[in-house]
């Protein structure tokens, strides 16, 4: 999910070192502003506006503001009403949604259940050819009995349907407008119900959006929102420090102190997900659980957090991200114990086979430095480990073909705030990281997906965690903070799942 250009990390370090020597400029500690425009600089440009054609983080930062979902996940991690005001489960497999009255699309069309039905059906309509066709695989059929009621029938019980509706694939598009102009014109001039509406876009330069005056959630606190694409880290930070932009995304941890002083500050959210080393558990010696236990025990995560992340991250305790449903507060952070690691390696019968980390440079933050550190730690316990650098698109290809030699970096996002949307989505049978199978684990994951009994689900995930930590289908490394640089006059709370929103509930400008 995280899309950071590979150059960013190389760039930043050297250049910002020089920046630190320069005096801070701009109005001294501007705590308030009269600005009516919010300028956001992100690391890459938008590719598409049609929310059903992209899941890239640079795109969904925009589509989650032009469009609304039926449910809305706030930065506190909880689900709130969106275009649906309330929802409940009827029986085991029918979710009933009551829709918000009086909502209008930016072109004046009223929003009704027909739009919601058409939007969700569009995601998996083979003719629409969307990129989110796999989001609603549990849906059997959708009914719109009256303009303000939506009934979604699922094939089996789906406790997480409301959560699914709050993330990508769930943005509601206008049925009639889309049908009349066609998908291409819609993508060029998107129309939604969200707090901002489209004005203009010059690729790789700027996107201009304006506040929708009669937004149902309240008109946002500025008149215009401008998104700029500044690919390099150092210039992006410079533009913030100079006051040209109000918010920057993807702030690397080594610039924390520089940005968190004077008129600017750092706003971070603990990432709703983990940074892990994916493991090809089919290849020796990684098919041996004892070897993987040794590898995990040999990683000094505290050192990694302290040195490579400047403290901007926590050591995970399990494959469930902190902040998710069923995260177990009683579990200790993953331990570091080099002598125990050596012991288990000896017991495993490891014969010096090569263990390779295929890393990208900057696909996930700190991927290459972490690879180098971890390989050194593994060599210390006697593992024949090495790092190989691959290009981003090669990684994508290997991911698709499931042809990694050993390990690779993955930053699984918890799309639903629940283990089902993370470890089960990725590691489950047929999932994109299906390299390891365990009968009991599979059975529990499947049952938990289709159970509406939260107590049962809690027990299931507890047991799955235990099995997981014995077999390590991922070697979990860190749960980092996702940091943004913001002007002090911007009052904004980032969402842990990279959903960037400027709605009233989490954004305003401090004014005098």
């Amino acid at each position: 999910m995280a899309q950071i250009t590979r150059r960013e990390w190389l760039t930043g370090a050297a250049a910002l070192g020089a920046a630190a020597a320069l005096p801070a400029v701009g109005p001294a500690a501007a705590q308030t502003t009269q600005k009516r425009e919010l300028v956001v600089a992100q690391g890459g440009d938008i590719s598409k506006f049609d929310p059903h054609f992209s899941t890239a983080s640079n795109d969904i930062r925009i589509s989650f503001n032009i469009f609304d979902n039926l449910t809305s996940r706030h930065p506190d991690g909880k689900l709130y009403p969106g275009l649906a005001t309330e929802w409940k489960l009827q029986g085991q497999t029918t979710w009933a949604f009551k829709l918000r009255q009086g909502v209008k699309f930016h072109n004046g069309d009223p929003f009704t259940s027909a739009d919601a039905k058409a939007s969700l059906e569009r995601t998996y309509d083979p003719n629409a050819k969307t990129m989110v066709a796999t989001v609603y695989t549990t849906v059997d059929r959708i009914e719109a009995p009256d303009p303000l009621t939506l009934l979604i029938h699922t094939k089996k019980p789906d406790p997480l349907l409301p959560a699914r509706l709050g993330f990508y694939g769930g943005q509601i598009v206008p049925k009639n407008y889309l049908a009349s102009v066609g998908a291409d014109a819609f993508n060029a001039r998107p129309v939604g119900t969200g707090p901002v509406r489209f004005v203009s876009w010059v690729k790789d330069d700027r996107l201009v959006l304006e506040a929708s005056p009669d937004y149902w959630g309240g008109r946002i606190d500025v008149d215009r929102v401008v998104f700029r694409s500044i690919p390099e880290t150092a210039p992006r930070i410079a533009s913030l420090l100079k006051g040209e932009v109000d918010v920057i995304t993807q702030l690397p941890p080594d610039h924390y102190e520089r940005v968190n002083s004077g008129p600017t500050q750092v706003r971070g959210a603990l990432y709703a997900g983990l940074y892990v080393l994916g493991v090809n558990s089919k290849r020796p010696p990684l098919d041996n659980p004892l070897v993987k236990q040794a590898l995990s025990l040999a990683i000094d995560r505290e050192l990694i957090v302290k040195e490579l992340w400047r403290g901007r991250g926590i050591i995970p305790s399990s494959p469930i991200a902190k902040g998710d449903n069923h995260w177990d507060a009683s579990l200790p952070p993953l331990p570091y114990n080099a002598s125990e690691a050596r012991e288990r390696l000896k017991k495993s019968g490891y014969k010096g086979e090569e263990v390779v980390i295929e890393t990208t440079v900057g696909y996930t933050a700190n991927d290459k430095p972490m690879s180098e550190a971890i390989v050194a730690m593994w060599r210390d316990i006697g593992v024949n480990a090495k790092v190989e650098v691959v290009e981003y698109s090669v990684r994508a290809q290997k991911n698709r073909d499931k042809s990694f030699k050993g390990m690779w970096w993955s930053d699984p996002t918890s799309t639903l705030g629940d283990p089902d949307g993370m470890m089960w989505r990725l590691l489950g049978p047929g999932g994109p990281q299906d390299y390891w199978r365990h009968a009991r684990w599979d059975e529990l994951g499947d049952k938990a997906r289709f159970s509406v009994d939260e107590k049962f689900r809690a027990e299931a995930y507890k047991e799955m965690t235990k099995i997981f930590l014995e077999h390590n289908p991922w070697i979990i490394v860190i749960q980092p903070y996702e940091d943004y640089g913001v002007q002090r006059y911007v009052d904004w709370v980032p969402n842990p799942n990279q959903q960037f929103e400027v709605r009233r509930f989490n954004f305003r400008m401090r004014r005098t």
């Binding site: 999910m1 150059r7 760039t11 250049a15 020089a18 920046a19 320069l22 005096p23 400029v25 701009g26 890459g44 440009d45 590719s47 598409k48 049609d50 054609f53 899941t55 083979p126 050819k129 990129m131 989110v132 066709a133 796999t134 990508y168 291409d184 993508n187 060029a188 010059v202 690729k203 790789d204 330069d205 700027r206 700029r228 694409s229 500044i230 690919p231 390099e232 150092a234 210039p235 410079a238 533009s239 420090l241 100079k242 040209e244 981003y392 698109s393 090669v394 994508a396 290809q397 991911n399 698709r400 989505r425 990725l426 047929g430 999932g431 994109p432």
Partner: protein, 308 residues
């Protein structure tokens, strides 16, 4: 007349062959280097989904068929639809061209206007403080990476002194730093080459003759030296011009400038074949057109090369 036609005819045929070769190489290399589909879909998309999208994009057809379609369409000026942007590749590239031309032409103008007089002065005042200073700067301009110069400009001029914007496209103030950064290398190369070309000519017999017959030094330099030194200067200037128009990737990235260099690199990362093909085609065309222009200018400058 026939000689002139032959002169252009040969060069035109060569140009067409060059463009065809470049396009073909790009076509093959892009397809060898990877598949765009996994980059388009969410990471958990199943294999069937990938196959479907590949089919929609026509990427499941044999490479020979894809190539034939590509050639046919290119001849009609149709480069296909951008996989990444979902609109015609030509439209995408056209949107980036004005910014590239604006930056490239400004950088080129800055480079030539500054470099030729500097090189000339350095040569005429050889081994003076002025010469050393100018060539010292030229050495820095030629050896410091564009990347470094750009970031330094941002940190010192924009952030430290608060003078110019850090990046983005807008009014003339947005243009100054990127144009200087982009032009630095060209400026340095042209200045150094001008100096050595002028020095070379200054040693020639006809210059001694000109001086001997009592011409003012100003005239010797302006009339006899510069014209004779022009050939290599025009060559390098033309080559630099092509580079400035198409090869501004680093400058564009540092200054968040929406030009085709950045588009090309992003499109390569995205495996957006149609856009890469279209940008490369255009760049090759520009380069070849410039070379053709240089050939013509040669003829004017040096009667010995003129087609008879």
């Amino acid at each position: 007349m026939r000689g002139l036609l032959g002169f252009f005819g040969t060069r035109l045929v060569r140009a067409v062959v060059a463009v065809w070769l470049v396009s073909t190489v790009v076509f093959v290399v892009m397809r060898l280097s990877g598949d765009p589909v996994p980059l388009l879909l969410p990471p958990d998309a199943p294999h069937s989904e990938i196959l479907r999208v590949r089919k929609d994009l026509g990427l499941d057809r044999p490479i020979g068929v894809q190539y034939a379609v590509f050639l046919g369409n290119t001849l009609r000026g149709d480069f296909g639809r951008s996989i990444h942007f979902r609109e015609p590749a030509v439209t995408v590239v056209r949107g980036y061209l004005p910014a590239s031309l604006e930056l490239g032409l400004t950088a080129f103008a800055l480079a030539v206007v500054a470099a030729v007089p500097i090189g000339l002065l350095s040569a005429v005042r050889r081994n003076t403080a002025l010469d050393h200073a100018a060539m010292g700067f030229a050495l820095i301009g030629q050896s410091a990476p564009t990347f470094f110069i750009g970031i330094l400009f941002i940190l010192i001029v924009s952030l430290g002194l608060g003078l110019l914007p850090t990046g983005g496209r807008g009014d003339w103030r947005h243009l100054v730093l990127p144009a200087l950064t982009l032009g630095a290398f060209a400026m340095a190369s042209i200045a150094r080459l001008t100096r050595s070309a002028v020095l070379e000519v200054l040693r020639a017999d006809y210059i001694r003759t000109a001086r001997a017959k009592g011409l003012a030094e100003r005239l010797v330099v302006a009339k006899h030296t510069l014209k004779n030194a022009a050939l290599p200067i025009v060559t390098i200037t033309g080559l630099q011009f092509g580079t400035l128009l198409g090869g501004a990737v680093v400058t564009e990235t540092v200054f968040a400038w929406p030009g085709i260099g950045r588009l090309a690199v992003q499109s390569i990362y995205n495996r957006d074949y149609p856009v890469v093909q279209c940008t490369v085609f255009l760049s090759a065309l520009m380069f070849i057109a410039i070379n053709l222009a240089i050939d013509v200018v040669y003829g004017f400058l040096d009667p010995r090369i003129r087609p008879r």
